[in-house]
């Protein structure tokens, strides 16, 4: 390799109490797809923020084509040909596509010309987009196209992608990969961050692995097994969830012909949903975000009330019962949004344990709260699920996403539910913690509970579920036995590629 496009040399960045990056060095070659791997909190985000000029390194230097490169702000990074697609989309819901794209450009042309260019580029790369649609109305996949096109319009030399595929259907992933390969063939380098090791094996030329802020190794993904890479990330050998053979009991929860109007302007209406889950069974529900997942969870948990007969538990109607009444009957739920839905961000873990555990754990007597027992319950969750925190008195907000997720799931699992509904149980959680959470769901089912797992991670659903159904625009497909389903079949159940086409230039 001649002069690399970007060379990182001994980058270090410390925050109070934690060294996010510790003398990290690696090179990204011209036209190379370079993967950056690591667990949650390994320092990947900080590293790419330094490259993009959002964070200044404490020491170390970067060379861009052999020249010193010290971006003071993202504007300068963009001027030097570095573009970034963010993990949490950096889009403005109330603005339209063209306005969103204009905001990410240095010297945007007139709106009319920009709209024409958006159409042209989006069609060239097989990512059709209407420049005048409001971003709040777009699906997750379409939003990502907005971000990608925003980058492509600036002719980047290096494209940074932070977990781009977590919200896409398999078909959309395939098209994204074709787009990336086309970019690579045009000489663009790509720095690709993902948890999904199989993706990295098909796409990337080279991988750098970070652990606790240090560069712990490099490999060529196509020649390394996913398991080896995962073990390099974790630093120890990895447990794969074990599923024991189980007998299914009678039907625990039963939804018949349920239709619910959309709760808000950006929500999805549920249309004629049928669902049955038996004791000991794990029902996996796939689908791209925004197709009714949150609404379905609301109906199951009792946040959204329906006709009494539409939702039945052991044959008894519970459609008119709210979340607390359902908890008393054994129907527990863990929603997707950790901060603000599953947990109250500014309350301590003990208080959060009280919020959902008061009924089933007997933490509340005659209107008085038993804080001693609650603290013990919180500590039990922390030990059982290996939540890394100084103690149950810490605010939920202070935990990293993965740790809080373990707490939120653990809190429900330990309450010994008859029916557990989880949405995105391992979203943003690293491989080892995800395996632990999945194992706990399998164990719960083995003890005879019915589990409904809503997720966008198909590998996860295939790993744990007994039957599989997909949500598409508020409709739930007929469930099928999970064993033996192919990725193509699942993609079709999820509604195909949503109008995407392969790049045709």
């Amino acid at each position: 390799m001649s002069v690399p496009l970007l060379s990182l040399q001994g980058l270090t960045k410390a925050y109070p109490g934690v060294v996010a990056n510790d003398t990290v060095s690696f090179d990204i070659g011209e036209g190379e797809v370079h993967a950056l791997l690591g667990e949650n909190g390994a320092g990947k985000s900080t590293l790419v923020k330094m490259i993009y000029g959002l964070v200044k390194p404490d020491s170390g230097k970067m060379l861009l084509r052999g020249q010193p490169y010290e971006p003071a702000e993202p504007r300068q990074a963009r001027a030097d040909g570095i573009a970034m697609v963010f993990q949490h989309f950096s889009l403005f819901d109330a603005l339209n596509v063209a306005e969103n794209i204009a905001l990410g450009m240095e010297n945007p042309p007139e709106m009319r010309d920009l709209a024409a260019r958006i159409r042209e580029v989006s069609e060239t790369y097989g990512l059709p987009l209407d420049p005048f649609r409001t971003v709040g109305d777009l699906s997750a996949g379409e939003r990502q196209r907005v971000e990608i096109i925003r980058c492509l319009l600036q002719d980047p030399k290096l494209l940074i992608m932070d977990e781009p595929t977590s919200v896409l259907t398999p078909q959309e992933v395939e098209i994204l990969f074709k787009t990336l390969q086309k970019l690579q063939s045009e000489g663009t380098s790509i720095l690709y961050i993902s948890h999904k090791l199989e993706e990295i094996r098909t796409l990337c030329d080279h991988a750098t692995i970070l652990r606790l802020g240090k560069n712990v190794g490099e490999c060529t993904p196509s020649e390394t097994s996913a398991r080896d890479m995962a073990e390099m990330m974790v630093g120890s050998s990895l447990q794969t969830p074990q599923r024991a053979a189980r007998e299914f009991g009678e039907v625990a929860m039963d939804i018949t012909g349920l239709s619910v109007p959309a709760p808000s302007a950006f929500g999805t209406a549920l249309k004629n949903v049928h669902l049955k889950v038996r004791k000991g069974e794990i029902l996996g529900i796939g689908g791209v975000a925004g197709n009714g997942q949150d609404e379905l969870l609301g109906v199951l948990s009792g946040e959204t009330l329906t006709d009494a007969d539409a939702v039945k538990l052991h044959g008894k109607p519970i459609g008119r019962l709210g979340p607390t009444a359902r908890r008393r009957l054994g129907v527990l739920a863990a929603p997707e949004e950790r901060l603000g839905h599953a947990a109250a961000p500014d309350m301590s873990l003990t208080e959060n344990a009280m919020l959902t555990g008061s009924v089933r754990e007997g933490l509340e007597k005659n209107g008085f709260l038993d804080w001693g027992a609650t603290k013990a319950f919180a500590e039990r969750i922390i030990t059982a699920f290996d939540v890394r925190t100084p103690g149950p008195g810490n605010a939920a907000r202070s935990l990293s996403g993965g740790n809080l997720q373990k707490f939120v799931i653990g809190r429900e699992v330990l309450q010994d539910p008859d029916v557990l509904v989880v949405n995105q149980p391992t979203w943003g959680v690293d491989a080892a913690a995800a395996a632990a959470i999945r194992q706990s769901l399998l164990d719960l089912a083995a003890k005879g509970a019915a589990v409904i797992c809503i997720s966008q991670d198909l590998d996860e659903l295939m790993e744990i579920s007994d039957s599989f159904a997909a949500l598409n625009e508020g409709r739930l497909s007929a469930p099928r036995e999970a064993a033996g389903l192919t990725v193509d079949e699942i993609g079709l159940m999820m509604g195909g590629a949503h109008g995407m086409e392969v790049a045709h230039v």
């Binding site: 925050y15 504007r75 889009l91 109330a94 302007a265």
Partner: protein, 306 residues
């Protein structure tokens, strides 16, 4: 009762005067809220602008200089709000409320020696021919320059928000400050500018009351116009032209009810006095029944943490 004493031409001309303080304050606050900041101190900035403008006009003899001073005074008070909320991360609601209380007290102190004085008069413009037209002349072409400035400002803010890059960035910051920061926009700096603009506009509005509409200085003379301006921004769905409409409606009902009182209509004065507030809010609530589009980051403090 004698309704024939009410002259419709004078009525319309004076409703425009009555509406201008409200319009100026509302347009300023609209820009502030579009940037994602909720400044409840409008009333305080108005009253400080009223006394600063009044005092400067009396001392210098120039009303125009008074308006300039009022804009500076309003902006200066808003700096206090900006420091508290943008840099010290204080709660915006509490800071805004205390700004109003502070402004009311400060203005009473500053105004002690100005009670009962008449300020120099601001001349109305006179355009040959046009201003002499019957009916249209006094309504459209016979006002002071600040009134026209208010309308021009509405047009400018509308154009800026809709068509200019500055407006786009401002809306983006108010919509999602984290994303704007990630794209490299200076959230705090943009918000500081918006807050200063809002303060200056509120100051102008206050001075319009003390120099033109009333014109004299009394304590607490803004009499809740600042609060109406805040409500107006919300009910106008953050749209400048709707704010203008609402301000004119409020001004119109105010003037009409004063005229009715003078004409001795047999409705208790209290009902007449509350009518501008009721009718303005009612109409704007109906208008804003469509998709209300509050800036998504409104009232949330921004901190560029990692």
């Amino acid at each position: 009762m004698d309704l024939s004493a009410i002259n419709p031409v004078l009525l319309i001309a004076s409703l425009m005067v009555a509406a201008t303080p409200l319009l100026l304050a509302a347009i300023g606050e609209l820009v502030v809220e579009k940037s994602g900041v909720l400044n409840l101190g409008v009333e305080g900035m108005m009253i400080v602008g009223a006394i600063a403008g009044f005092a400067t006009a009396v001392e210098s003899g120039s009303p125009l200089l008074g308006f300039v001073a009022a804009a500076f005074a309003g902006a200066a008070l808003s700096v206090l709000f900006a420091i508290l909320t943008q840099f010290a991360q204080a709660n915006q609601v509490a800071s805004g409320l205390s700004l109003t209380l502070f402004g009311l007290g400060l203005s009473a102190l500053m105004g002690q020696s100005y009670v009962g004085i008449k300020p120099p008069r601001m001349g109305d413009i006179h355009i040959p021919v046009l201003s002499d037209l019957p009916v249209i002349g006094p309504i459209l072409f016979g006002h002071d320059i600040i009134l026209y400035f208010g309308i021009a400002l509405t047009a400018a803010v509308w154009w800026m928000l809709k068509y200019s890059r500055m407006g786009l960035v401002l809306r983006a910051v108010g919509e999602n400050h984290d994303a704007a920061h990630a794209l490299g926009y200076k959230v705090l700096r943009i918000r500081l500018m918006a807050i200063l603009f809002g303060g200056a506009c509120a100051g102008l509005g206050g001075a319009y009351i003390s120099l033109i509409r009333v014109p004299q200085w009394t304590e607490g003379m803004t009499a809740g116009i600042g609060w109406i301006a805040l409500a107006l921004v919300v009910f106008a769905s953050w749209k400048p032209w709707r704010a203008l409409l609402g301000a004119y409606l409020f001004g119109g009902v105010t003037v009409v009810q004063l005229n009715l009182q003078a004409a001795g209509v047999a409705i208790p004065v209290e009902y007449l006095a509350m009518s501008p507030y009721l009718i303005t809010i009612l109409v704007l609530v109906i208008l804003s029944a469509d998709k209300s589009s509050a800036p998504a980051s409104l009232g949330r403090n921004f901190h560029a943490s990692r």
